[in-house]
Amino acid sequence: MTTFQARTHTVTLTERLKDATNVALIAILLGIPMIGLHTVDAGGKLMVATRWPWLLAFVATMFFGRLALQFAIDQFKLKRLTRQRTRTLEVATPRPWLKWLGYGLLGFSLVLPIAFSDNRYVVDTATTVLIYVMLGWGLNVVVGLAGLLDLGYVAFYAVGAYSYALLSTQFGWNFWETLPVAGALAALFGILLGWPTLRLRGDYLAIVTLGFGEIIRVILINWTEFSGGPNGIGSIERPSFFGLPFKPDSDDGATFASFFGLEYASEHRVIFLYYLILVLALLTNLFIARLRKLPVGLAWEAVREDEVACKALGMNVTNVKLSAFAIGAMLGGFAGVFFAARQGFISPESFVFSESATILAIVVLGGMGSQFGVVIAASLLVILPELGRDFSEYRMLLFGAAMILIMVWKPGGLISRREPSKVLAGVEK
């Protein structure tokens, strides 16, 4: 109630003017050294000259610009508020076409490598999409279901990737052996991050998680003996097909190609990797869909909706939040293992903040909590920049514009409708 009132509270003109004056004052402080004074070259000597009219123009621009900006933001907020109100009140109607679209997409994803078997680029891009789908689904547990804003998700991706890289290069572990260990390690890191941040919410939580992600990256860069530092780790063993490596025929042992009597082709591995991530992603989907119907899934959503009410009903909110962090992190870890296995080389550069931001964008754009929305958003976020390659440096600009347009058009994300996880039979929805 209070937040609602705070948002509808109409700001008076004097408040706005005060606000703009504050900005203007800051502009003066910054502007004097930056614009008001400048150095001129007076015949070999450096002289300080003044240009007060410029400063005046700058301060005036700031003052009126701030006023205009705030006005625009107010208008936007007001519009969004009315739209939100009507949105929550609209009665949910079942949408069977969505389900069919889902099945269609699944069928398409199954035949994609066959249909494009001669086009390595398409299969590669689709693999990337699936990695992001998996990451999006993992983060969706934390952000979409449990409502905990996590800006450092890439840290768990890194934990998974480095687990595989180190275990395979140092101890000769293979992909399947590493997968559960890396998942458990990432979950442990999830709890490690979750524990100190339990009391934090919203913006504060976002800042701490952002810091956590950076800490992991900085450790990876600086602890050279452990992680290879900025050079990363190379020649990581690529996953094999149940013990059959994807290699050109050679004398030592059977390879995938020789076993199946095929001509060796580098596409085999690309297609295999595609199906591998597809299976991992589908398992993730089933796992989350299942969890959502279990007490823990309902508890995640309840904590997102009202933490205080949860406590009053006897729920240990600490455990619920930690389980969300752990499960989300574990899924991120799995994706990381796959990433390392696919690339064969990893370095801290793959785990920068913008990666976290992309994954979060996928979740928000898809519609928080919606599994299907994540698929669409991940496809958009990977494919749009690819399509825009012709626009070279403008492509990120176009991409940003597309994102803004989508959020204006659908502020709750592409799929904002929530399917109840428990339904009383015989009663209309």
Partner: protein
């Protein structure tokens, strides 16, 4: 105050201060099981604060709150975190400014209330993921309990609607139904009749009597609506500026000059504050 053991809840010398403000001052009170005890008093008297102290949301400055639980023995609520108050001591509350899970359906709200039992049956999700029979049984039992209270509170028809869209009166009923799904021994209702129309508030009266008489639940009621309070209460405690100014049956309270003064003599109330502040 008769034999102390007979009380379900025993509040002793409870004081709650916020900086210089004493919201509750040295309050002692016994609550009986299977009875309706009302806490009344003007705005700001400290009623909600009292509930917050009972249910672990505030830590009282001094004093104790002891729950005599038939299974777990004597429990000191002021030392327990809020979730244990509900889970172990079986004291469950509702909120003055309704706190539902707005995007979740009525049914889901009631299932969430049974989280602990379900989570245990699902063996931290393992049995649930595997779909074991033990979990399925627990899940069905939870649905049955939810359906029972939904039917009793006339919420069955809207079981699959998100609670955020419901009318105020209905939301209040959902919140009570949800609290009942925790199987409380003592249910603390903070102004459940606020915003209800006369028909709804008459139904609330019936429900409260039904809970105490049929289910032998202890009810604590904060309420401004005297139609509800005087009709259903077994015992009434009147707070004014954190002090207990009267206690007794509805008749005793209605005729108590102190109470009448507190409710009617607004100017005199202001005088007392100044005296207290001095």
């Amino acid at each position: 105050m008769s034999n102390q053991q007979s009380h379900l809840l025993e509040v002793k010398n409870l004081t709650m201060r916020f900086g210089g403000l004493t919201a509750i001052n040295d309050l002692s009170l016994g609550i009986e099981g299977g009875k309706i005890t009302s806490i009344i008093g003007p705005n700001g008297a400290g009623k909600t604060t009292f509930f917050n102290c009972l249910t672990g949301f505030y830590k009282p400055t001094t004093g104790s709150v002891q729950m005599n639980h038939p299974e777990h023995g004597a429990l000191l609520l002021e030392k327990m975190p809020s979730h244990l108050v509900a889970r172990k001591a079986s004291v469950v509350r509702t909120f003055q400014n309704i706190r539902l899970f707005p995007n979740m359906t009525v049914l889901e709200n009631l299932i969430v209330a049974q989280h602990n039992a379900l989570q245990k049956a699902s063996h931290f999700s393992l049995a649930g993921l595997l779909g074991l029979a033990s979990y399925r049984q627990a899940s069905e039992a939870a649905m049955e309990k939810a359906e029972m209270w939904l039917t009793r509170l006339k919420l069955r028809d809207i079981a699959n609607m998100p609670t955020g869209n419901l009318s105020y009166g209905t939301q209040r009923r959902v919140e009570i139904a949800r609290a009942l799904c925790v199987d409380p021994l003592l249910i603390c209702l903070d102004e459940p009749a606020a915003g209800l129309n006369p028909r709804e508030s008459a139904e609330l009266n019936d429900l409260l009597l039904y809970l105490t008489r049929e289910h032998h639940k202890g009810v604590m009621l904060i309420e401004h609506d005297m139609n509800v309070v005087m009709k259903v209460s077994d015992h009434i405690c009147v707070l004014n500026f954190g002090n207990k100014i009267a206690e007794g049956t509805p008749e005793q309270i209605q005729n108590n000059p102190e109470v009448i003064k507190a409710y009617l003599g607004e100017e005199e109330i202001e005088d007392t504050t100044e005296e207290e502040a001095a």
